[in-house]
């Protein structure tokens, strides 16, 4: 069987607090080292649940990481792990960001910066420094700010919902402003779906291609069960990265509805 479906045991080597409710968990896993930007892992907390997590570091001297925001019982456990804890993982799963454009704009909201960090590294490897909007609720909620400043210098710009740092308002508002004032040739976004929907509509005004990372309730992760479907797409297998054409297809659901565990459509509320 393909190795990425096999459940491996990882040992938490380091757990770094990024914000009051966000932490990054570092571990070694050979297959995760070969992941592409935008892919995810299924992370199994034995006795609790198994949840999809974006890969936030791919192979820094053998170390990889996931970054977790505490939004429920399972992520609460992941957000308070001590080094030495054992977890199960399978993956990497899903498609990945396609590296396109010479003048990309990247829009990150909250913990969405996790999946975008490896994308930034991929661009820099190609000699391209993207413009990066790092958005958060407030200045103490800005994920990977120090690392991104090192990589991007003045191309990193900040927005905070409460105005405590940088642009005052939502990252999507700042993105609209930048798209109006500057020439970009590709847009990437990951964060709250309502923010990504607004960024998508804005790219349409400027006729810009976009890639957005969507989140749904993933169960099987291998494209079988259908719990994560949006329109005709399985987020676990056809996604999680949706390009312009896919986003156009799911327009009626984007930022509007998602399936709960039983398959009932419920409102997307963030």
């Amino acid at each position: 069987m393909p190795g990425n479906d096999e459940i491996r045991t990882i040992i938490v080597l380091d757990a770094r607090r990024e914000a009051v409710d966000i932490s990054t968990i570092y571990f070694k896993d050979e297959l995760t080292q070969t992941a592409k930007p935008g892919q995810y892992l299924m992370v199994w907390v034995p006795g609790e649940d198994e949840v999809p997590m974006s890969i936030s570091t791919i192979n820094h001297n053998g170390l990889s990481s996931i970054t977790v925001r505490n939004v429920g019982p399972t992520t609460e456990i992941l957000d308070s792990l001590q080094p030495g804890t054992k977890l199960g993982i399978r993956g990497p799963y899903g498609n990945s960001y396609e590296i396109k454009g010479e003048k990309p704009l990247i829009v990150a909201g909250g913990s969405g910066a996790a999946s975008l960090y490896p994308l930034v590294e991929a661009f820099i490897e190609k000699g391209i420094i993207p413009t990066f909007i790092l958005g958060g609720r407030s200045s103490d909620q800005l994920l990977f700010e120090d690392e991104l400043v090192d990589l991007l210098k003045e191309k990193l710009v900040i927005s905070t919902d409460d105005g405590s740092m940088g642009y005052s308002g939502y990252a999507s508002g700042y993105a609209a402003l930048l798209m109006a004032e500057n020439e970009y040739d590709h847009v990437y976004t990951c964060g709250p779906e309502l923010m990504m929907a607004k960024v998508f509509y804005e790219t349409e005004k400027h006729n810009l291609p976009i890639q957005a990372s969507l989140e749904r309730y993933i169960k099987c992760a291998v494209g079988l069960c259908g719990n994560c479907v949006v329109g005709p797409y399985r987020v676990c297998k056809d996604g999680p990265i949706f390009d312009t054409e896919m986003l156009d297809t799911i327009r009626e659901e984007l930022g509007v509805s998602r399936l709960d565990a039983s398959g009932i459509k419920v409102r997307v509320n963030h």
Binding site: W44, K219, G263
Partner: protein, 300 residues
Amino acid sequence: MNAAGVLGMTPDILKRVYDSGAGAVISKSIGPEPRRGHPNPTLVRVECGALNAMGLPNPGVEYFVEEIQEIKKMGVPIIASFFGGSTQEFADVAYKLSRAGADALELNASCPNVAEELGMLAADAANVEKVTAAVRDETKLPLFVKLSPNVTNIKSIAVAAEWGGADAITAVNTSKGIAIDINLRRPILANVTGGLSGPAVKPVSLRCVWEVAQAVKIPVIGCGGITTGRDAIEYILAGASALEVGTAVMTHGLDVYKEIADGITCYMENNGFTSISEMVGLAHDYENIGVDNACLGMTK
């Protein structure tokens, strides 16, 4: 057709399954009330297949009525799989799904993953006959009864479903299994046990089709590890008139439906068959097939 439980969540994804080459689609098993199913891990890949314990997640029949109507509007033939916790619930859900406009019903008598909660109907011939008859009274639609391989004598259960008024038997649901993580020293699935599917179960499921075809006069629908046109032909020769494919989507993607259909067509062309029905159950006549009638099979 897609096996029940595979991608049967929404009209849009079922339409995609249909457009991929399935002749009809089957919904997730629908029950009287919404169910979230079991927590994750609900699926683990194993040697030559997958082990799953989804736990019958479904939005409930009241909600699903609208989904069926939407699928019908798309022009997609839909078989509604369903279950209940009692004879009355099976009958009620079947009635509502018929009224919603489904083209056929598949009575799921055989989910291996809710045994403690609901019991497994397909383990008991008398109950299978009783429930099938109760459902029969509520619907004029074609009624399939899906059986389990996890029984001592599948022939007796199939006959019970036939007596109860089933129009076809689907053979079979998954085989009960377990997967253990040696590092964490515990079962992987949250439900501990799950249903094994994929190539790993094919010989067992094929034997079930073989036995059921011998036992009943109604058509048999084959299900279990079908991945290639060759697998499909084996099932047809064993007695299946139609086929359900699930786990192969994990290994071969949605194109697998067309690949299997093309493989069947290729075999038919090579062997001078013009319809599936000419081939159904031919292998049962093995004692009378001379070597002269043997053929070179398929080219793909």
